[in-house]
């Protein structure tokens, strides 16, 4: 897949929840093939505190309109600036970048686990899994009811199980405490979210021998495998999370987790 540097046109910028927004941007030349789990490197203009590009997962893709969606959490100056983009403005991105999630095989039971902006890659992954004829399930964890993000699009693809830390909606506890996660024999679990969540999910999967891939959000400078800043210690040495990842099988990671 050839990488491109392209000015997309913002078609929509919509609030999703407190501090979260979704940008839709379209390509005038049509999108290249994009795999679930891949990301883009966004140039943030007019932001003095933002020197480097910002990596953002591909949240959704609509090939028919040539539109890509990004689900972004305001974390600092760069994402704050992006939250102010208006329809019609240009957004320069380098894409598609990184590897991708391994799609499941026919008949497998598949759970997609996420929280916060970790939901970002799960929509497109869920869509691709559904296209492959499998109905994915989703387990989403949030701090509390008010932090829950709009997940209507996920509901269209499969069942959604919610957990909130304070029980203000859905199950009370972490995603790993969800009965639907604990008690069912999943064949594959895909996870993207805060590191503690990913490590808890990874530990549970390791213990139960479930295939599990996580999408890491390491700090990146280049996003194209040349700066060697985004490395992840793996069983085959330090790998770049921007080219060998961001998706890793937890068996290859050197995480200090007890299986």
């Amino acid at each position: 897949m050839k990488k491109r540097i392209e000015d997309l046109t913002v078609t929509q910028n919509r609030r999703l929840g407190e501090g979260f927004f979704v940008i839709n941007a379209s390509s005038s030349q049509g999108l290249p093939d994009i795999l679930p789990g891949q990301f883009v490197q966004v140039l943030v203009t007019d932001s003095p505190a933002t020197f480097l590009r910002r990596p953002l997962s591909v949240h959704d893709v609509d090939m028919s309109t040539g539109t890509i969606s990004l689900l972004v959490q305001i974390a600092g100056a760069g994402t704050e600036r992006l939250s102010r983009l208006n329809p019609g403005e240009k957004i320069n991105i380098i894409y598609p970048l990184g590897n991708s999630f391994t799609l499941p095989l026919k008949g497998e039971r598949v759970l997609l686990v996420g929280g916060g902006c970790g939901m970002a890659p799960l929509l497109y992954l869920g869509r691709k899994i559904r296209e492959a004829g499998i109905e994915p399930a989703f387990a989403l964890g949030f701090r509390n009811r008010s932090r829950i993000l709009d997940h209507d699009e996920l509901t269209k693809l499969g069942e959604v199980f919610l957990a909130t830390e304070d029980g203000s909606e859905g199950y009370r506890g972490f995603v790993t405490d969800l009965p639907q996660f604990r008690d069912k024999d999943w064949d594959r679990v895909y996870c993207c979210g805060p590191e503690p969540m990913m490590k808890a999910v990874a530990a549970a999967c390791l213990r139960r021998g479930i295939f599990c891939e996580v999408s890491l959000e390491n700090l990146m400078a280049c996003g194209i495998g040349v700066c060697l800043c985004c490395i992840v210690p793996t069983t085959s040495g330090n790998l770049c999370s921007c080219t060998d990842g961001p998706v890793f099988n937890i068996r290859d990671l050197k995480w200090q987790i007890s299986g």
């Binding site: 050839k2 990488k3 491109r4 540097i5 140039l43 003095p48 505190a49 933002t50 020197f51 480097l52 590009r53 380098i94 390491n218 700090l219 990146m220 400078a221 280049c222 996003g223 194209i224 495998g225 040349v226 700066c227 060697l228 800043c229 985004c230 490395i231 992840v232 210690p233 040495g237 330090n238």
Partner: protein, 303 residues
Amino acid sequence: MADLRIKIGTLEFRNPVMTASGTFGYGSEFDDFFDVSALGGIIVKGTTLESREGNPYPRMAETPAGMLNSVGLQNKGIDYFEKNIYPRIRQYDTHIIVNVNGNTVEDYTELSRRLNALDAIPAIELNISCPNVKKGGMIFGTNPAAAREVIAAVRQAYSRTLIVKLSPNVTDITEFARISEGEGADSVSLINTLVGMAIDVRAMKPRLAAITGGLSGPAIRPVALRMVWQAAKAVSIPVIGMGGIMNADDALEFIMAGATAVQVGTASFIEPLAALDVVKGIDSSLDSRGFASVSDVTGIINR
């Protein structure tokens, strides 16, 4: 089309724009974006005799108009380079230059000897300025006696074009430029990164696992430009300038200060076409002002 050709030692370059070591991989990472043969040269990743894993994560911190890195020379070693990378990149129709690193003088000479045998590598850049390794690196670049020793030894071991990459973390850059010239280097390139640091105030700890790292990007350009200007006046071998070059005007600042050529580093992370844009921009800038060749403006502020 102005005449952009320049010479470093006996080696002729299509144009004065190269990419800086550690910021352009082995060139092939940019194949999707443009034909890298349009560049004057490509300085590939810092290479060592043995394979190295580098420093722990995190290795990067963004800073005002710049970034810190503490990669620490992660690379697969010369054997791997010879077998797996060299055959691939030797196809490029531009000069592929290897950035040479080591812990000891022997490491440097041994590696230089190995590279001397690779006929498609017309030059090496002797890195005596890496701030991110405990042994070797900047220790050679900040100590005149050590610098002299390693440059002399490598000069013995290496017969083609020898560029010495200087550290800016010194009181007097001209001293090291002169030592390089004195020991037979064909050129000096500067600057490598300035040693810097950043702290995450919320977490109350350094942003880099290695605590300190090398500062690059436009933030350091004024310092880089000053040192290049000083070095160019101090020696008669060609000086290759770098540090925060983002566009053709930045590159022309270095050239007008006396640099024969420039390297584009961190800019390629933000704009993969940056080095190519610098080539084009220098060309059109010279054209529009009626200069026939880049040498017409080299060191023009000193005339």
